[in-house]
Assembly symmetry: C2
Homo-oligomer: 195 residues x 2
C-alpha cells in the first residue's frame, strides 16, 4: 500500500475505471482493487444504515511544510501502518480488520502481516472487540474471513511460513460476493462473533 500513484487520495476509493480494467491490473493494483471493493462495501453499509466502518488514513511522516503556499507539504514519506486497515462500529460492537490479497496459488504468506498488526489485533480481542482478516485468494477467486485469533496463533506458533488454502477453507468463512455489496461480510460477523 506504499506505491500510490501521484494524485490519488490516500484513504479515498481508487478511480472507478480501476474495477473495469481488472484483467490487466498488476499485482499491486489488484490489491488496490480489493481495497476499493471493501471501501465500496463499507459505503453500502453506511448508506443502508447497517454499520459504520472506516478505512484508516495512511499515516504519513511530514518533514517539511511550505507555509508561503498555504500549508503545502513539500517533503514527507509513508509510514508503516502500525494498526489495521479498517475499524468501526456494528451493533455497538467495536470491529477491526485487515484486508489482504494474495497471488499465491496454494497459500497465504504470513510475510504479508506486520508483527505490530498481530499485536494490535491481540489487543482488540483482549478488550472485547471483534477482530478478523479478510483474505482475498485470487487463485481461488474467493475471499475468506478468518478470526484474528486463529491467524495470530498461527503467526506466533509459525508451524509454516504461510497458511495453506486448505486450512483457510477449513477454519475460515467464505464471504458472499455480489454486485452490491461486493463482499458482504456483516452476516459473517453475526455468525462467527455474535451468536
Amino acid at each position: 500500500m506504499i506505491n500510490y500513484p501521484g494524485g490519488i487520495k490516500v484513504n479515498a476509493p481508487a478511480p472507478k475505471e480501476k474495477k473495469e480494467k481488472k484483467h490487466i491490473e498488476s499485482a499491486a493494483n489488484r490489491g488496490m482493487g480489493f481495497e476499493t471493493d471493501i471501501n465500496d462495501t463499507n459505503a453500502y453499509y453506511l448508506e443502508k444504515g447497517l454499520a459504520l466502518i472506516y478505512k484508516r488514513p495512511t499515516p504519513i511522516n511530514i518533514v517539511k511544510v511550505d507555509y508561503t503556499k498555504g500549508a503545502k507539504i513539500t517533503h514527507a514519506y509513508f509510514e508503516h501502518q502500525s494498526t489495521t486497515d479498517y475499524n468501526g462500529v456494528y451493533k455497538g460492537h467495536y470491529v477491526d480488520f485487515e484486508a489482504k490479497s494474495t497471488q499465491s496459488k496454494t497459500s497465504f504468506p504470513l510475510s504479508n502481516i506486520a508483527p505490530q498488526q498481530i499485536e494490535h489485533l491481540r489487543n482488540v480481542k483482549k478488550h472485547g472487540g471483534i477482530a478478523f482478516f479478510l483474505i482475498n485468494c485470487y487463485a481461488l477467486g474467493e475471499v475468506y474471513m478468518l478470526d484474528a485469533e486463529f491467524v495470530c496463533d498461527f503467526y506466533e506458533e509459525k508451524p509454516r511460513k504461510s497458511i495453506p488454502f486448505s486450512l483457510i477453507k477449513e477454519k475460515g468463512h467464505l464471504v458472499k460476493e455480489a454486485y452490491r455489496p461486493r463482499f458482504d461480510y456483516l452476516p459473517l460477523i453475526d455468525e462467527v462473533f455474535l451468536k
Copy 2:
C-alpha cells in the same frame, strides 16, 4: 490542527518539552498540548490494559510522489478530518470522541466543530457506539466530557453560536486531572454510558 511544525510526525505525540513550556505556548500550541495529554492518557490506558484508543492519522491528499528517492512525497496537503480525532474499544464497546480546546472565557464556540463531525457522531450513536466530546476550557482550567448527543442537538438546533460554560458544567462531567493518566475519562464512560 493544520499548522504542524516541520518535522513533527502527524499522529505522534508532540515532543515532551512542549508540556513544560505550557506557559509560553501560543493558542495553537495549547491545543496541541491538550492533544498530547490525551495521547499520553491513551498510552497509559493501553499500557495498563484498560482500553485501546487511537488517534486517527490526519488525512493527507497526495499530489506528487518522487519514486526516484524511495517514495518521497514532494507535494501534498492536509485534508479536513471528516470524522473525529479518536476512536477505539473499551470493554467491547466502540468508543469515538473529539477533543477540543477553547480560549474563550465564557463559552465553547460551535465554529470549532465541522458539520461532518456532527454527522459522524450521529452515525456512531445510531450504530450503538459511545460518542462524546472532551472540551478543554482553559479559562476554567477544567476539562469536561459532553455526550455527543447533547452537543449534536445543540449544534443542530443552534439556540446560540456557542455553548455557555454554565451549560457545559450542568450537562457535562468534569474529567479528573492528574499526573498520570492526565485526563482520566474512562470512569466517566462507565458512569455516563455503561450504567
